[in-house]
């Protein structure tokens, strides 16, 4: 088990390192930040001074090593634009993003899973068809379309809710709904197919044949076994808590890290972009890691494999 955990940890670290490297390479070879920051008409010595100040005159691999070193010492660089610590800038925005993504995640869980399970237990009924149809609709409508439609209906036409910005709970209502709809559809669909798969298994037939109450069959035998695929999807959603907000934050002018990313990308603010990429990738990798470890707890068979 220790071996299993340490291998997973190692792989998680390798993935994060690969993300950092990828980001670094892409950002450095794609353009000269000095030109972008200072504009085209700046004299050459000003450009050189800027480069020297930011270490951009060093060979690429030295910049890379310096970057890796500084990450390990907790220094994620300084925003070229605001001259502030990049990490500080990003961390300031995180609460705003979580203010949207956590309620959205809860909505996905408390609507998506029960809907899917209910549909699976009442296959071929009208409700089942309705759930299927709505869930397909849910994840085929892109979030920017959904967001704009909601704005069009609730803000423009009905005038009930604000169309953007941060403020009262009313402000966060539309973005939260927009963000959760795709996930609700996805979860409902996965829960449904996982439950259908489980309900067809011999042990469920055995459990109901031996006269167990139907609710006990569902709660004690079916649900725990359907949990593994559902947990995978939920883990992915948790991993996307920071990443999933880019589009929605842009639509609703929400001051979270998604918008910070779009703005920093437009300004070629390397330190901030790298910092956000790193944070997002780390969230994803860590939640994948937790899911992997959860498997062992949920499914004793996998635990057995892991021990070897």
């Amino acid at each position: 088990m220790i071996r299993f955990v340490s291998i997973r940890l190692l792989r998680a670290l390798v993935t994060i390192l690969a993300v950092v490297t990828f980001a670094f390479v892409v950002l450095r070879i794609s353009g000269d930040p000095a030109q972008v920051m200072l504009g085209p008409d700046v004299p050459q010595d000003a450009v050189d001074a800027f480069r020297e100040a930011w270490g951009l005159d060093q060979p690429l691999w030295i910049q890379y090593l310096a970057y890796i070193h500084s990450i390990f010492t907790g220094d994620l660089g300084i925003s070229m634009r605001d001259k502030e610590s990049a990490l500080q800038l990003v961390l300031e925005r995180i609460p705003a993003t979580l203010q949207l993504t956590i309620p959205a995640l809860l909505l996905k869980l408390i609507i998506g899973i029960p809907a899917g399970v209910y549909a699976a237990l009442h296959r071929q009924s009208g409700i089942d068809r309705g759930v299927i149809m709505l869930s397909i609709l849910g994840f085929t409508i892109p979030s920017f379309v959904m967001g704009l439609l909601l704005v069009l209906i609730f803000s423009v036409t009905l005038g009930l809710l604000p169309s953007g910005g941060q403020g009262t709970w009313m402000h966060s209502l539309l973005p939260t709904i927009t963000m959760s709809i795709g996930g609700i559809g996805l979860l409902a669909r996965f829960s449904r197919s996982a439950m259908i798969e489980v309900m067809g298994q011999p042990y469920i037939r055995t459990a109901s044949a031996k006269g167990l109450r139907w609710s006990d069959v569902v709660w004690q035998h079916a649900l725990p076994n359907a949990a593994v695929p559902i947990v995978t999807i939920v883990g992915f959603m948790v991993g996307a808590l920071l990443a999933g907000a880019v589009v929605v934050e842009s639509i609703f002018s929400w001051p979270g890290i998604g918008r910070l990313l779009v703005v920093s990308v437009a300004n070629r603010d390397l330190a901030v972009v790298q910092c956000i990429l790193l944070l997002i990738a780390a969230t994803m990798v860590v939640s994948n890691l937790i899911v992997d470890l959860l498997y062992g707890w949920l499914d004793p068979r996998l635990r057995g494999q892991a021990a070897h």
Partner: protein, 293 residues
């Protein structure tokens, strides 16, 4: 493509004993509608040049922000008096071309890598699997955002970038199926006949795994459409004066209150297209490939 040929001529209930099992089952109405819509989209994309009533940059300055239903501009005009229908038709072509090329690209590379892993095993297989893990753990939208912003957006770059999306699924599927086919069964029988690896993989294994791969293409295709339109919406995908569905929604957003049709037309097309592919894909999966749920 087959699905298009299947339903269209015979309507909802196609029955022809000589055809494969697909036809022996009734095709549900929703699937027919989905196929019909996809067929229309493909035709629009192919004949965009003939169908477009105006050039996409032709401005009719006396008729700006005209509402849909006008005799000269069926779907209205935008803030510069450009015909929304003409732009929509061109957008459909651009978005479909990107999504289609990217899907093919990712299917091709994924399958090739998967086969390579199955053929050479050992270190090659390890590398492919680690890369696949890495790809799956990437925040792909964010990465694409960064790449497009820093390299500057171009059609080729968008297609290549989107072509990276989802390759790991094909690689996993192709590897799994090729390994099981080589371990025993027809593939090893053909090897034993003296066939070259090329023949084994392309004449025997590929046709046998094609249905599974096509099914995963129906999963990737709508995701790529959504990704491209999302990027274009954020202003990082297809750049003006060229237009795509996401790009139209993005620019139409500024006129949401005064001229919602600019944004509603492409939004509807995106929704219907991804919805149709999902429905048809699900149905195809049930029909073609009982092993994948």
């Amino acid at each position: 493509m087959t699905p298009v040929e299947i339903t269209h001529p015979y309507g909802g209930k196609a029955r022809r004993p000589s055809w494969t099992a697909i036809l022996r089952h009734t095709v549900p109405l929703s699937i027919c509608l989905g196929m019909l819509w996809l067929l229309t989209m493909v035709l629009v994309a192919v004949f965009a040049d003939l169908l477009r009533p105006y050039g996409i940059t032709a401005m009719d300055l006396s008729n700006r922000l005209v509402a849909p239903g006008s005799t000269r501009h069926w779907l209205g005009t935008d803030e510069l008096g450009r015909d929304v229908l003409a732009r929509l038709i061109q957008s459909i072509r651009v978005s479909l071309v990107i999504a289609f090329s990217a899907t093919i690209l990712s299917a091709f590379f994924g399958t090739a890598l998967g086969f390579a892993a199955a053929k050479f095993r050992g270190i090659v297989e390890h590398i492919v699997l680690v890369l696949a893990d890495f790809q799956a753990a990437l925040p792909f939208l964010i990465m694409s955002l960064a790449v497009l912003a820093f390299f500057g957006s171009s059609m080729t770059l968008i297609v290549c970038l989107m072509g990276f999306y989802g390759w790991e699924r094909y690689a996993r599927i192709a590897r799994g199926l090729a390994v099981s086919a080589s371990a025993q069964g027809y593939a090893s029988a053909v090897v034993q006949l003296g066939a070259s690896p090329f023949r084994v993989y392309f004449r025997h294994i590929l046709p046998n795994v094609a249905s599974t791969l096509i099914v995963s293409m129906t999963l990737t295709f709508p995701e790529i459409i959504l990704m491209e339109s999302g990027l274009s919406f954020l202003g990082l995908g297809v750049q003006p004066p060229e237009t795509s569905l996401g790009n139209m929604v993005g620019f139409g957003r500024e006129y949401l209150t005064r001229a919602p049709w600019i944004m509603l037309a492409p939004a509807t097309v995106i929704m219907l297209t991804t919805l149709s592919i999902s429905l048809v894909g699900d149905w195809l999966r049930d029909k073609l490939d009982p092993t994948v749920r």
